[in-house]
């Protein structure tokens, strides 16, 4: 399998600030790749480097087999971009903007355009200055998704969309992926990435702190179990001494704890002794992954208080 995007040791500085500090990224052709990180971690800077809008100060980057800075125009024929904060021409209607962007790309499929306008319920007659944030976002989404391209670069594309439109967005991205397109989806909304991405890269302070398939990442972390028990006190004591169980805590008749994947067998075997009345277990969410990566920072914040 070839890679649509590879970046190694990317460095980009703005004055004294190192926005990217040896960042690595690998996006395989045909996958939906989640790109996660808090605000200011370097997501947008990375995407702008990939688009050749910014020139990296160091490191290597390759996009669809080319150099994003040198071969910008040729590469842009094969990709589409959705910015996180779309600004439109104030006097152009949404429809005019979509058609302009389509023509600059070399043509637009009218059927596809009409279908997307319909699905996103976009009023194309409104002037750019009169659109709300969510509607501006829809204009950019229609323009990008109507294009026949190999790669979609999306920088927090759903900001400002309502939940119905977000669901619509997810469906459209799934279709794009089914057509064999590669998608790089930056977001800080974990549920969205979890729903769409096969692999994720987590960026923090300009460095990739974690990268892999969702399965791999999940196995790195713990399942959270909440059990209703007749003998909650006994269970808390017992769980406290079991290896692979973390942070047991009691809330009335319920006990909640986190379990390493390889300790699940032992825990499930031990629980019936305390009289189980209910049981909820959920797999690690990206949120947990995320919090684990940032746990350090949270601990620092707590310590500072």
């Amino acid at each position: 399998m070839t890679d649509a995007i590879t970046a190694a040791g990317l460095v980009k500085t703005f004055g004294p600030k190192r926005a990217l500090d040896g960042f690595d990224l690998r996006v395989a052709t045909g996958e939906v790749h989640g790109f996660l990180g808090p605000n200011g971690a370097g997501k947008s800077t990375t995407i702008r480097v990939l688009l050749g809008l910014l020139r990296a100060d160091g490191g290597e980057v390759s996009l669809l087999g080319g150099d994003p800075w040198r071969d910008a125009v040729a590469l842009h024929r094969r990709l589409a971009y959705v910015p996180g904060d779309v600004t439109l021409w104030p006097t152009l209607s949404g429809g005019e903007s979509i058609d302009l962007l389509g023509r600059l790309r070399g043509g637009i499929d009218p059927g596809r355009r009409a279908d997307l306008v319909d699905r996103f319920e976009l009023d194309t007659k409104v002037k750019g200055r009169a659109y709300s944030k969510g509607n501006r976002q829809k204009v950019a989404l229609v323009a990008a998704l109507a294009a026949d391209v190999e790669l979609l670069l999306m920088d927090e594309p759903t900001s400002g969309l309502d939940p119905l439109m977000e669901a619509q967005f997810q469906e459209v991205v799934r279709e794009a992926a089914a057509d064999g397109r590669t998608v790089l989806l930056s977001s800080h909304i974990l549920a969205e990435v979890e729903a769409l991405a096969q692999r994720v890269t987590i960026i923090r302070a300009g460095k990739a702190v974690l990268s892999g398939s969702l399965e791999e990442l999940r196995s790195l972390t713990r399942t959270t179990v909440t059990v209703g028990l007749r003998d909650a006190d006994g269970a808390v004591r017992a769980m406290g001494t079991t290896t692979g169980v973390h942070d047991p805590r009691r809330d009335d008749g319920h006990v909640t704890f986190d379990v390493d994947a390889d300790a699940l067998d032992a825990v499930l075997a031990a629980l019936p002794a305390f009289g189980v009345s209910s049981l909820v277990a959920h797999p690690p969410t990206l949120e947990d992954l995320f919090l684990r990566q940032y746990g350090e920072e949270l601990a620092e914040i707590k310590a500072a208080r």
Partner: protein
């Protein structure tokens, strides 16, 4: 403590003081640069007049010259011409050129504080705080008024160092302040009409243009503010104070009243509309677009600006042509003046046409600067990012916009030259003027290239310093009007120092080719810089 806090936070004016402080903080450098530049130029010009016109005879000759219609159109109502002191000269010839930039500053400051924050959504954030509904409007106006007062006060302080009578200087600076306040009031009304800062400031600029033309027509028709046209213009009111000669304060009351009325109107209008809207209704656009490229897009974005700047330039050219006969009659009636113009009547009209051609060219330069500034705005707004993420090269994106701006400026100048030539040919009964004046307009075109080059260079190399381009255009304008009053060499960076002042001077090719080459090199270097740098929001 609690009570003062509560009382400070209720009412339509709550939070005004904080907003004024914020506005002044954001503007402090801008205000300082305007104040220092206006005050310094005023003082330097007055001192230069003092040196140049030390003798009674030279001042009398200047008075005769300035009484000509062509000069009057660009000067003032002509008080004190029979005893043309330096004070009278300052009030008659300089005051208008102090009022004009300060008025522009006031218009821009008002739209910047009243409309721009509402358009980009900052105001929504501010209004969600314990801030009264009228506070942003009041704060914007107060900030603009304080800026105007700062410029007026510093100019007055500067003038104390000259030989001029302090009482007259106080009146002249007050006149400058009042005319700027009137224009600020008009701009406040414009800010309620349109939902867009750009349209609002264009309306304000149009108001300045109309006021300027009204007083020019009035002063040519009736000296010493006797024409009704003069009294329709805020410039006319402020010039009717006749500082250093009649020293009348009462005409300022007209301006103060007009300011009060327009500000009240702005408040009424502001109360009748929702946040983020204008009173001029928004029409829906097309469902499908026909724009196919960057040139088409640029034309769509710029067409209003091109038509309005073009109309201004062409109208000015026509006005000059119409006045040509009066210039000629005037010189013919005044044999004493022929000493000043070696070419006699023909020489006098040629000199006037040369000066006006430069004036038209400076207007075209200002248009070019707005056009390149609009390209920079595309970049800061993020729209350039959207386009450059498409298969559109940076050279194509910038080049299309530059080509359209340059061509529009050239067409504007040539049409203005043609119209000036046709009207002059009719009023002087001399068909050869058409060719002469189209040529005079054409010879300023290399200047357009130089200004375009400076603008592109700044855009490509130091985009955050784009205001420097405006400083350069202002410099070229000041040098063209007052270069001979300023120290030698001060005008070295202006293209008009080298280009032949046609039709007063014969055509020479070396400076034309030289300026063209300099302009092209600057454009190329700037474009190269833009292609190599990061996109900067």
């Amino acid at each position: 403590m609690t009570t003062t806090l509560t009382t400070a936070r209720v009412g339509a004016l709550a939070g005004t003081r904080g907003l004024v402080r914020l506005a002044l903080r954001a503007d402090r450098w801008r205000i300082m640069v305007w104040a220092v530049a206006v005050a310094w130029l005023t003082v330097v010009s007055v001192r230069a007049l003092d040196d140049l016109y030390a003798s009674d005879t030279s001042r009398a000759a200047r008075a005769e010259l300035i009484a000509s219609p062509a000069a009057t159109a660009l000067a003032g109502p002509g008080y004190g011409l029979d005893d043309y002191t330096i004070g009278a000269m300052t009030a008659n010839e300089l005051a208008l050129w102090i009022m004009l930039p300060v008025g522009i500053m006031a218009v821009l400051a008002v739209t910047r504080h009243l409309r721009a924050p509402e358009e980009d959504g900052r105001l929504e954030l501010v209004r969600s705080q314990p801030v009264g509904s009228a506070a942003p409007v009041v704060a914007g106006l107060v900030a603009a008024a304080l800026a105007v007062l700062a410029v007026g006060a510093l100019t007055f302080v500067g003038l104390l160092s000259t030989s001029l009578d302090p009482a007259g200087s106080a009146l002249m600076c007050a006149s400058v302040v009042v005319v700027a306040l009137v224009l600020a009031g008009a701009s406040a009304v414009a800010s309620q009409l349109s939902a867009h800062a750009r349209t609002a400031s264009s309306l304000g600029m149009a108001a300045i243009g109309i006021a300027f033309v009204l007083r020019a027509v009035g002063d040519v028709q009736g000296p010493q503010s006797t024409s009704v046209w003069t009294w329709l213009s805020p410039f006319g009111w402020s010039q009717a104070t006749a500082p250093y000669t009649e020293d009348r304060w009462w005409p300022l009351l007209v301006g103060v009243a007009a300011t009060a009325v327009s500000v009240a109107l702005a408040f009424v209008l502001a109360g009748r509309r929702d946040l983020g809207t204008g009173l001029l209704a928004e029409r829906p656009g097309r469902e499908h677009g026909r724009i196919g490229g960057i040139v088409g897009l640029t034309w769509r974005r710029q067409r209003t600006a091109i038509w309005s700047w073009g109309a201004a330039v062409v109208l000015c050219g026509g006005l000059v042509g119409v006045l040509a006969a009066q210039i000629a009659d005037f010189v013919a009636d005044q044999p004493a003046l022929e000493d000043l113009f070696p070419g006699g009547v023909g020489g006098a009209t040629a000199a006037a046409f040369a000066l006006y051609s430069v004036f038209l060219a400076v207007l075209a330069f200002a248009y070019v600067t707005t056009a390149v500034g609009a390209a920079r705005h595309e970049e800061t707004s993020g729209r350039a990012e959207t386009l450059l993420a498409l298969p559109v090269s940076r050279g194509h994106w910038l080049g299309s916009q530059l080509a359209l701006a340059g061509m529009a400026a050239v067409v504007m100048l040539l049409v203005a030259g043609l119209v000036m030539g046709l009207t002059a040919a009719a009023s002087l009964d001399d068909p050869s003027q058409v060719r002469t004046l189209v040529g005079a307009a054409a010879v300023t075109i290399p200047g357009v290239l130089v200004v375009l080059g400076v603008a592109v260079l700044v855009l490509g190399v130091a985009p955050r310093a784009f205001a420097a381009v405006w400083a350069y255009v202002a410099y070229v304008g000041v040098m063209a009007m007052f270069g001979d009053l300023l120290p030698d060499g001060a005008d070295a960076a202006s293209p008009f120092t080298y280009l032949p002042a046609m039709p007063a001077e014969p055509m020479t090719w070396t400076p034309v080719v030289g300026c063209t080459v300099v302009g092209l090199v600057l454009v190329l270097v700037g474009t190269q810089g833009f292609r190599r740098r990061d996109l900067q929001g």
